[in-house]
C-alpha cells in the first residue's frame, strides 16, 4: 500500500497564483522521501493540502488509501505534520501542548500523559515539560513540534524544513532520531533546504518546481545523473586571471583561487600537469558543493550553462 498518493493535484490561489499544476506522486509505505524545490515551488502548498490546511482546487490525495475527500478523519489519523513555522500556543506549557494535541486525536488524558513523557524524553525535552513554550530555544521549539506530531503515533510523518535555523549538533541528533523512527516503521516525507540532509537520510527524491514535479526517482539513480563536479584549487600566490585549460571550464574566484569543472571522463592529473606547466603551484583543493545541491541547481535553474564557468575550449 502507498503511504501517500497524489493524483493530478492542482491549487490556484484567489490571487490567481497557480501553486500546483497537476502533481502526481506516490510515496511507498516505510520510505524516507525527500521533497525538494526552491522557495515558492509548491512544496508547502502540497503539504498543506495533504494535511487539510489548504483547500485544493482539483485532484486527489490519499493517505494510506484513505481519500481526503471521502474519508478525511481516517486520513488525518494516519498523518503527523511538523510545519515550517512555529504553530503552537506560545503561552501554553510544553506538557499541555502535547496532552491537548493527543486529546484532539481522541487519546484519553491518562494515555496522553504517558506518551507525552515518552516523546519528551526521546527528544530531550523532559526537563522543559513545565516551561512556557515561548521560553524554549529555536531548536527546542522544533523538537517540540516533532514530539507533538508524533503524540498520536502516525504512520506517515511529514516534516517541512524541520532543521531550519538549528545548530549542527541538534541537526545531527535530529537526523539520528528520524532515521530510527523510519527504521521502526514510520514513513517519512521531508522537505529541506539542507540538501546534504536529504542526501544523507532519504531513499527517494522528488524535485518540484513551479508547481510541477520535474524529477522523481531513487536518490542513487538521481545522483548518478551527475556527470561532473567542481573543484576549488588554491594556488600559493593568488591569481589575477583564470588560466586557460583546454577542455576544462575554469573560473577565477574573488580570493584568487580557481574553480574547475571536471567531468567523469576527465582526470585531475591533467589539470595539475597543465597548471604546473604554467608555473602555478596548487597548495590545497576542495570539492565545491555537495552533489545533490549541484543537481538541484541544474534541474531547477539550468545553472550548468549559467554558472559563469568559462566554456571549455575543446568539447569534453
Amino acid at each position: 500500500m502507498q503511504a501517500l498518493s497524489l493524483r493530478k493535484l492542482t491549487k490556484t490561489y484567489r490571487n490567481g497564483v497557480q501553486a500546483l499544476k497537476g502533481i502526481d506522486l506516490d510515496v511507498a509505505q516505510g520510505d524516507f522521501f525527500a521533497l525538494l524545490g526552491p522557495n515558492g515551488a509548491g512544496k508547502t502548498t502540497a503539504i498543506g493540502i495533504i494535511a487539510s490546511l489548504v483547500n485544493k482546487s482539483s485532484g486527489k490525495a490519499l493517505v494510506f488509501g484513505h481519500d481526503t475527500d471521502t474519508d478525511l478523519e481516517a486520513a488525518k489519523a494516519c498523518l503527523g505534520l511538523v510545519p515550517q513555522e512555529i504553530n503552537f500556543n506560545q503561552f501554553e506549557k510544553v506538557s499541555t501542548i502535547l496532552v491537548n494535541q493527543a486529546g484532539f486525536y481522541g487519546i484519553p488524558r491518562r494515555v496522553a500523559r504517558e506518551r507525552m513523557e515518552h516523546w519528551l524524553r526521546k527528544l530531550q525535552l523532559w526537563e522543559k515539560r513545565d516551561a512556557v513554550s515561548r521560553t524554549l530555544s529555536g531548536g527546542m521549539k522544533r523538537r517540540l513540534m516533532i514530539a507533538r506530531a508524533l503524540i498520536h503515533e502516525p504512520r506517515l510523518l511529514i516534516l517541512d524544513e524541520p532543521t531550519a535555523g538549528v545548530d549542527i549538533e541538534v541537526r545531527r541528533s535530529m537526523w539520528e532520531f528520524l532515521r530510527q523512527l523510519n527504521e521502526d516503521g514510520t514513513t517519512i516525507i521531508l522537505t529541506t533546504h539542507y540538501l546534504e540532509e536529504a542526501e544523507s537520510l532519504c531513499r527517494h527524491i522528488a524535485i518540484i518546481d513551479e508547481g510541477r514535479i520535474i524529477e522523481n526517482d531513487r536518490m542513487a539513480t538521481v545522483l548518478r545523473k551527475l556527470h561532473s563536479e567542481v573543484f576549488v584549487l588554491n594556488p600559493r600566490q593568488p591569481l589575477a586571471a583564470a588560466p586557460e585549460l583546454p577542455g576544462y571550464a575554469v573560473r577565477l574566484a574573488d580570493d584568487g583561487s580557481i574553480e574547475v569543472e571536471v567531468t567523469k571522463s576527465q582526470n585531475l592529473n591533467e589539470i595539475f600537469a597543465a597548471l604546473s606547466a604554467r608555473g602555478i603551484e596548487v597548495v590545497s583543493m576542495r570539492n565545491k558543493a555537495n552533489r545533490l545541491e549541484e543537481l538541484f541547481m541544474r534541474l531547477v535553474e539550468g545553472r550548468d550553462v549559467e554558472t559563469g564557468l568559462v566554456k571549455p575550449a575543446v568539447p569534453a
Binding site: 490561489y13 487539510s52 494516519c78 500556543n89 506560545q90 484532539f104 481522541g106 498520536h152 516503521g185
Partner: protein, 270 residues
C-alpha cells in the same frame, strides 16, 4: 497489524469516543485559558457590573423610583446580568479563535481528525462557560445590592443558555472573517454595545414613543433581555413565544453557518 496501524486505524465504533475526547479537550483548553488570563476575563466584568449597580442602581435609581412594578435596581439587574453574558460569551470566542488563527495554533485542530461541527461546538462551549461563569458572578454582585426572586426558572435558564450560544456563534463568525485585531474590536464597539444599551437593559420600551418602540423591536437583543427578565420578574415588553422561537432559530442557523464557514475554509484554509 503493526503498532502504528493499530494506533491510527480505528473503527467507526471508536470514532464517537474519540470525538468526545476531542470535544472535552477543546473545552478544557478553553476553560484553562479563561482561568489563566483571569485578569482579562473575570475581573473586568466584576468591576463594570459593580459600577453599574452603584451608579445606575443605588445613586440614580433612587430618584427614578419604580419601573415595571419593581424597584429600578431590581428592574435593571436581569438586564445587567444578560449584558455581561452577551459580551463575555462573544468576547471569549472571538478572542480565542482569532488568537488561534493569529498564532497559527488553530492548525493543531485543523490537522486533527475532528469534524468541523465539533470544533465549532467546542468553541461555543468555551463561550458558554465564560458567559455563564461571569453571569453567575454578576448575579452574586446583584444580590449585594438588591433582592432577586426567580418567577420562572425555566425561562431564566433557556434565555441565558440560548443567548450565550448565539453570541458565542456570532463571536466565531467575527473571528473567522477578522484579519487583524482592529476587526475583532470593531463589532463589539460599534454594533454590540449600542444594540445592548438600546435593548431594554436600563429601561422599558413602554416608556418610548411609538416609532421608537417599533425601531426597538427590530433589535434582537431586546427579545433576549426581555425573555430573561420575564424569568425573574414575571413580565415582559415583548411576546415571549416569539422571543424563544427567534433565539432557537438564530442559534440553529448560526451554528449551521459557522460549520459551513469552517468546511469552506473561510479565514482558515485559504
Amino acid at each position: 497489524m503493526n503498532r502504528l496501524e493499530a494506533a491510527t486505524d480505528t473503527g467507526a465504533g471508536e470514532r464517537g469516543g474519540h470525538r468526545w475526547v476531542g470535544f472535552r479537550t477543546i473545552v478544557i483548553r478553553e476553560f484553562s485559558r479563561i482561568v489563566r488570563i483571569w485578569g482579562q476575563t473575570l475581573v473586568p466584568p466584576v468591576i463594570t457590573a459593580t459600577l453599574y449597580f452603584v451608579i445606575f442602581g443605588s445613586l440614580i435609581g433612587r430618584r427614578i423610583g419604580e419601573m415595571g412594578g419593581v424597584s429600578y435596581m431590581q428592574y435593571i439587574a436581569p438586564g445587567l446580568i444578560m449584558m455581561s453574558v452577551i459580551t463575555n460569551s462573544y468576547g471569549n470566542v472571538v478572542s480565542s479563535f482569532f488568537g488561534a488563527k493569529f498564532g497559527r495554533h488553530i492548525e493543531e485542530l485543523l490537522v486533527a481528525p475532528l469534524p468541523n461541527w465539533l470544533i465549532v461546538a467546542g468553541y461555543v462551549a468555551g463561550g458558554l462557560v465564560r458567559g455563564l461563569l461571569v453571569g453567575l458572578i454578576v448575579t452574586l454582585i446583584a444580590l449585594f445590592f438588591t433582592h432577586l426572586q426567580v418567577e420562572h426558572l425555566g425561562a431564566v435558564l433557556a434565555a441565558v443558555l440560548l443567548t450565550a450560544v448565539i453570541f458565542s456563534l456570532l463571536g466565531f463568525v467575527n473571528a473567522v472573517f477578522a484579519k487583524n485585531f482592529d476587526q475583532i474590536s470593531f463589532v463589539p464597539t460599534f454594533i454590540l454595545t449600542p444594540l445592548t444599551y438600546l435593548g431594554g437593559v436600563f429601561y422599558s420600551i413602554a416608556m418610548l414613543p411609538d416609532w421608537a418602540q417599533a425601531v426597538s423591536k427590530a433589535n434582537p437583543i431586546l427579545y433576549m433581555v426581555n425573555a430573561f427578565r420575564y424569568g425573574f420578574l414575571g413580565h415582559s415588553d415583548v411576546n415571549l413565544g416569539m422571543s424563544f422561537a427567534f433565539m432557537a432559530a438564530a442559534a440553529v442557523a448560526l451554528f449551521a453557518g459557522c460549520v459551513w464557514l469552517l468546511e469552506k475554509g473561510t479565514g482558515t484554509r485559504d
